[in-house]
Symmetry: C2
Subunit: 387 residues, 2 copies
């Protein structure tokens, strides 16, 4: 019966990075996933924009996002050095754009909030924004520029993490968890659907939106997760007749709120332009719909009219793991031996470095670092729960 110090259920970027960092600290680690490196990161745009995406009331999440963003350059460089694989990390900055007077008022208010928090955000006129990004719609009314909000390619990141795990001695077990196993009120690993019993001193759940439905977890410990569907398009920044002439089509992430809906365009160095994303509560459904594609193209077209010329290379949909407060679940659960590394909602790619560091610290020392402490899953425990 294969035994490890740590079993990680789920090999998306969160699970793999946690496994990698933990193995680097000398523990034996197994990752249970039928297709490691291909979680929600396959669909994600990979925008690393904690400052741009600041929401009122989410200051603790902002701090976590800023901490993760600050580690990204080194994290990506270390991955590339270990594996030879590029992660698509790009220090490009992010422009948030207002298309009308209402947008502008709202963006200006957010900018004030950002300034009060001491964040580095620059206010630009519409003309200044268009000087930076000439493909923006002529009617742009204003924008904020966050020079420190960047991007990474979630697919390349997943592939690099798989290679880094293998190099660090992590065992990849290509199957799915049928159930978490317990003994004497403690998690002891998992039974895989291929029949293998994988035992471990500690079991980390990193199964994204499926983390809440794992069999074998006592009802009172069940992680409060729901799938939040996102549809995403991938365009190519070349025209029908070849490369786009002159300057780059877009040079940095561009984000806007169109008719109350958030839209963003993430231009990669390799010519891919990711356009996302819908937010839909549809259960475990990953169908690409006519309406989802239509709305993304309609809103992006208002923001950057020139996208109509670009080839549409791919449509896809993924499931974000949503929690009641949209913040992640990090660290010990009420079941001894069972640890959470999930619930990252829209921020899984961004929060990968800080999550992996926090989990590796907890798994080796039993202590969560301060920045992760507000996010333990026990914050949702009801008074009558056995926790």
């Amino acid at each position: 019966m294969p035994h490890s110090d740590v079993l990680v259920i789920g090999g998306g970027v969160i699970g793999l990075a946690t496994a990698w960092r933990t193995a680097q600290r000398g523990l034996s680690v197994t990752v249970l996933d039928p297709d490691p490196g291909r979680g929600a990161n396959q669909v994600a745009a990979g925008m690393l924009a904690p400052v741009t995406e600041l929401q009122y009331g989410e200051e603790p999440l902002l701090a976590l996002g800023i901490a993760s963003n600050a580690r990204y350059a080194d994290f990506a460089a270390e991955l590339t050095e270990a594996t030879g694989l590029d992660t698509g990390y790009r220090a490009c900055g992010t422009l948030a754009v207002a298309l009308d007077a209402d947008d502008r008022a709202e963006l200006h208010e957010v900018h004030g909030f950002q300034q009060r928090l001491g964040l580095d955000v620059e206010w630009l006129s519409g003309r200044e924004a268009r000087r930076l990004e000439p493909m923006l719609a002529p009617g742009v009314r204003g924008a904020t520029l966050v020079r420190g909000d960047h991007q990474v390619d979630g697919r390349r990141l997943g592939a690099a993490l798989v290679a880094a795990c293998v190099k660090a001695g992590v065992t990849l077990h290509p199957s799915r968890a049928a159930r978490v196993t317990t003994e004497g009120g403690r998690a002891t690993g998992a039974l895989a659907v291929d029949g293998t019993k994988l035992t471990a001193d500690q079991t980390a759940v990193a199964a994204g939106c499926w983390s809440g439905g794992l069999e074998g977890v006592p009802a009172a410990v069940r992680l409060p997760l729901r799938p939040v569907k996102g549809q995403v398009l991938r365009l190519r920044m070349t025209t029908v007749r070849g490369d786009f002439p002159g300057p780059p089509f877009l040079s940095r992430n561009v984000r806007a709120v169109v008719r109350g809906v958030h839209i963003y365009l993430v231009p990669r160095a390799d010519g891919e332009l990711v356009l996302g994303a819908t937010t839909e509560e549809e259960g475990f459904d990953t169908t690409v719909t006519a309406g989802g594609v239509y709305e993304l193209l309609r809103d992006a077209h208002e923001l950057v009219p020139g996208i109509t010329e670009l080839p549409l290379a791919e449509t896809s949909a993924g499931l974000r793991p949503g929690t009641p407060d949209n913040a992640p679940l990090l660290g010990p659960t009420a079941l001894p031996g069972l640890v959470a590394a999930t619930g990252h909602h829209r921020n899984g790619v961004l929060l990968t470095p800080v999550t992996a560091d926090a989990l590796a610290e907890y798994l080796t020392t039993g202590q969560l670092p301060p920045e992760a402490r507000p996010f333990t899953p026990t914050r949702f425990a009801s008074p009558e729960s056995p926790a």
Copy 2:
């Protein structure tokens, strides 16, 4: 050196049907195509709507279309009987819809023209149209119903024609024509890019929009063709959560002009809903673009708002073979031994039965049947040409 009575260059539905009908009359036939059955028919919606799509000044084409449509039921049944394969032929009728007062005035004028030609077209109020197709937009102002305009599945048709050709003894040579060969002022077959010399008493060019660029054809005989790009979407008539409840999503072809652009929805019996098509002069380019997909979804959404719920299964683009008068090129060219069966523009699938019959007649008897005579390629010959 392989010799046939007839060599057909191009194995789309026109080339295959011509080969099949000609082989049925006892001639030996070879089809030269790297991937037979997969021409522009792979993208085509397969609407068989000569009456609905009537254009002023195209009465000869109307007659040809009506003749072909009238043969379709038997043609499809014969193919199925020969091969066991379904062609997706569906006698469903076609509804042409007006969305505003201008559309209604224009549709009413076309209806008058259709009536003067003695065509069977019924005028419906918006309410009557919505009674037939409840998913139509509430604002529909009027419609015409053509009970005799149907549909076929271009992909299934291609597959059935390949099988029928094989069964009828047609030789399929899986390569591409490098050049037409000539000797003493007469076409003698073709050299394939795999090096094979295929000789034939008569050579039929059915290479769609590539027919005009065939090497070896004297300049004065060159067929006047250009590629006309069409982008097409394929949706599934099921909702995200399963089958669409209640009545069928759509029961017949639906066509409209939205902002001057023609759009149609072709609902297949197997649940596919084909949504077409753009018309673009972009050269030999088959890129699916963000703008093409956006405009199709936008216009279809105005016509049938409920499409937003449907899964988007496929995006594709094909090249129609356009001629100077948008009518096909049928029969003898100015080069003895070289025959044309191409240039069908938007009507290739519709005109397949009548084209195949006309070409088989010409190839066996040297006479074109009357309905095909207005369409010989020599109609474009200039006075100084050697023809």
